[in-house]
């Protein structure tokens, strides 16, 4: 048999090659995600909306507090969107620049959504993973506490909180944060229960790895797929909740604004021929929710290929 010297050489080169790079499950998921058209469209929308929130203010010719006295009182005739007077999205009923207001509302709504989801992810994951991993009586007590909190009609409590302690952003964050982690902790606990009897967790326990490190190194990384999917679906839910509260007039207060507040104002003047006051905030609201849902779906498909 003739041995191909060149081939043998390349084989031996490959054998001694310094450290082959591994393909982690995360890298696989990323590849699948980037191949998903709908998810990429959603991600593009979200990136654009975020850029709009961060840098849109630089393009505005009016600040969000300034009243344009030239259009005041005749908003329906003079306040329509126009490039000439610098009101790209028109003005609101008081003559404030709607473009600047929308930028401001986008910032606040995104912040509420992301902070609410972040609280849910951090608190819910740790709480659920602890309850599921420790098990027994601790689990019983922790999960019954969640059941009790869930049985409270949260919208009612949130409205009461805002009425009693004043309408402030911090109160809104607190209220949304208090309720958002409950579902997450349940989902995470269920996943933890199925993970904790897997052999690799047993192997770690047999080696003497502490419970805290097992949760952090073995349980949580294997949960993150589910958590990531749920979190992306939670962000629009938080935005919706905040918008609903603001629509009722209890959420974000002037001079701050949010999508919900802007939509509420726009809806109030719908009949007076100033439809742009509703259309622009609503457009951003809708495409952002679409974006989050597409990204959430894409993440689920990417992280759990068996499900398809």
């Amino acid at each position: 048999m003739v041995i191909d010297q060149k081939k043998m050489q390349s084989l031996s080169d490959r054998m001694v090659e310094a450290e082959v790079k591994g393909r982690s499950p995360w890298a696989d998921a990323r590849r699948r995600f980037f191949r998903n058209r709908a998810a990429m469209l959603g991600l593009t929308i979200l990136v654009l909306v975020t850029l709009f929130a961060l840098f849109g203010g630089a393009l505005a010719q009016w600040s969000n507090e300034e009243l344009d006295f030239s259009v005041m009182g005749r908003v329906a005739e003079l306040g329509a969107p126009s490039l000439a007077n610098g009101h790209y999205f028109g003005t609101d009923n008081l003559g404030r620049d709607l473009y600047a207001r929308t930028v401001q509302g986008t910032q606040i709504s995104l912040m509420v959504g992301i902070v609410g989801a972040a609280i849910a992810v951090i608190v819910g994951t740790l709480y659920g993973a602890t309850a599921g991993y420790v098990g027994g009586r601790t689990d019983q007590i922790m999960m019954r506490a969640v059941d009790i909190l869930m049985s409270i009609p949260y919208m009612f409590v949130l409205i009461l909180l805002l009425v009693m302690f004043g309408r402030s952003m911090s109160m809104l964050f607190l209220g949304i944060g208090l309720i958002s982690w409950l579902d997450m902790s349940r989902i995470v606990r269920g996943q933890t229960l199925s993970l904790k009897n897997r052999e690799f967790v047993e192997a770690a326990r047999a080696t003497g790895v502490s419970s805290f490190r097992i949760i952090i190194r073995h349980i949580v990384p294997n949960l993150l797929g589910v958590v990531a999917v749920y979190a992306t679906l939670l962000v629009p839910l938080m935005i919706l909740t905040e918008s609903f509260i603001s629509f009722l007039g209890l959420g974000v207060q002037e001079p701050l604004t949010s999508w919900g507040a802007l939509i509420s104002e726009g809806a109030g003047t719908m009949n007076y021929g100033t439809l742009w006051q509703l259309a622009f905030p609503l457009f951003f609201f809708v495409i952002t929710l679409f974006g989050f849902f597409f990204v959430g779906d894409g993440l689920r498909d990417a992280l759990d290929p068996k499900e398809r």
Partner: protein, 338 residues
């Protein structure tokens, strides 16, 4: 040779609650391991065999402290492992490691090989610098027959046999004295089984390990073990050197087990006599009185239901009132019933 581990009267009892039972209702007790006794000498391999549900894996998990157990397990230095607090146990965990049954399931899919093998080292020797840990991991990978340059790969990129090698490397990185192998090869192909077993035997010689080798494949156990212990319903039936046990089994259960081993030779296979066992394994929730094997034993008598046979007989210990080879008549009777 001194005894590395001597286990006396080891019991693992699970208390089961019926679904929807009242909180004050008494739970049912399940004796998974019921008074097991054995000694393990340094550098020796003890094989543990038995059908599924007889408590093999539970015994292993009790020894390593994964399930609570009562009784005594005296380590070579005279300490009782079962009486230690978790903090005291930490020092001994370095010396006792385990290899698991399912090669892929025993590796965390989100960690790469380097992290997996290094985990015991990071846990027990936090003082070691990273470079030293990495060097040791690479050395260990080479030792178990993996290419060290694959240190950054993830478990799903390896075959079953390679995954088991990773599991073995993880168990050996701390240079333990005792490795408990819980059916390490039953999930692998036959050709890979041989590789992994020979690897274990080689490493045992190199590192002076003691092995507890759990399997339900009797030929594999014969190949690796110095002594073999036969379990049935959480009790030891027979404990003898591998040669003696396979050549002249004394307990009727052992004889039935050995007679069922297939022989890869058609003429011998056709000529051998199989002793069938009637019925199924009794429920461990409600084991038979006296000798637990009596309900399926072709030789059972009234005494077997009344008295629990003690494990007796020195080097070739048997727990039976009437040990000895089965006669033709008994085999014929066993066939009729089954």
């Amino acid at each position: 040779m001194s005894d590395l581990l001597s286990v006396r009267d080891l019991r693992v009892t699970f208390s089961l609650r019926r679904q929807g039972a009242m909180p004050w209702a008494r739970p049912t007790l399940l004796h998974a391991v019921n008074g097991v006794e054995f000694t393990l000498r340094a550098g020796e391999t003890l094989g543990i065999v038995g059908e599924s549900g007889c408590g093999k894996s539970t015994l292993a998990r009790a020894l390593i402290g994964l399930v609570p157990a009562s009784g005594q397990a005296e380590w070579i230095d005279g300490r009782d492992l079962l009486a230690l607090t978790p903090r005291q146990m930490m020092a001994y965990r370095q010396d006792i490691q385990m290899v698991f049954q399912d090669p892929l399931a025993s590796l965390n899919p989100r960690m790469n090989v380097g992290q997996i093998i290094a985990e015991p080292l990071v846990t027990h020797r936090p003082d070691l610098p990273r470079a030293e840990i990495r060097a040791r991991v690479r050395a260990m990978m080479e030792k178990v027959g993996l290419l060290p340059n694959q240190i950054n790969r993830y478990p799903h990129e390896f075959s079953g046999g390679q995954c088991q090698r990773i599991g073995i490397a993880r168990a050996l990185i701390l240079e333990p004295k005792l490795v408990i192998c819980d059916e390490p090869v039953s999930a692998l192909d036959v050709s890979i089984q041989a590789q992994v077993i020979n690897l274990l035997i080689r490493l045992q010689k190199e590192m002076g390990l003691s092995l507890i080798f759990i399997a339900h494949d009797l030929s594999v156990v014969k190949h690796v073990s110095d002594r073999v212990m036969v379990l049935y319903l959480g009790k030891v039936m027979e404990l003898a050197s591998a040669g003696a046990l396979y050549a002249s089994p004394q307990h009727p259960y052992t004889q039935a087990l050995l007679s069922a081993v297939p022989v890869p030779d058609p003429t011998i296979e056709a000529a051998r006599t199989i002793v069938p066992l009637k019925g199924d394994l009794p429920s461990p929730l409600n084991p038979p009185s006296g000798c637990v094997f009596r309900t399926r034993c072709p030789r059972a008598e009234a005494r077997c239901a009344a008295e629990v046979p003690a494990l007796a007989g020195g080097d070739h210990a048997v727990a039976c009132h009437f040990p000895g080879p089965l006669t033709e008549a008994e085999i014929a009777r066993a066939r009729e019933v089954a």
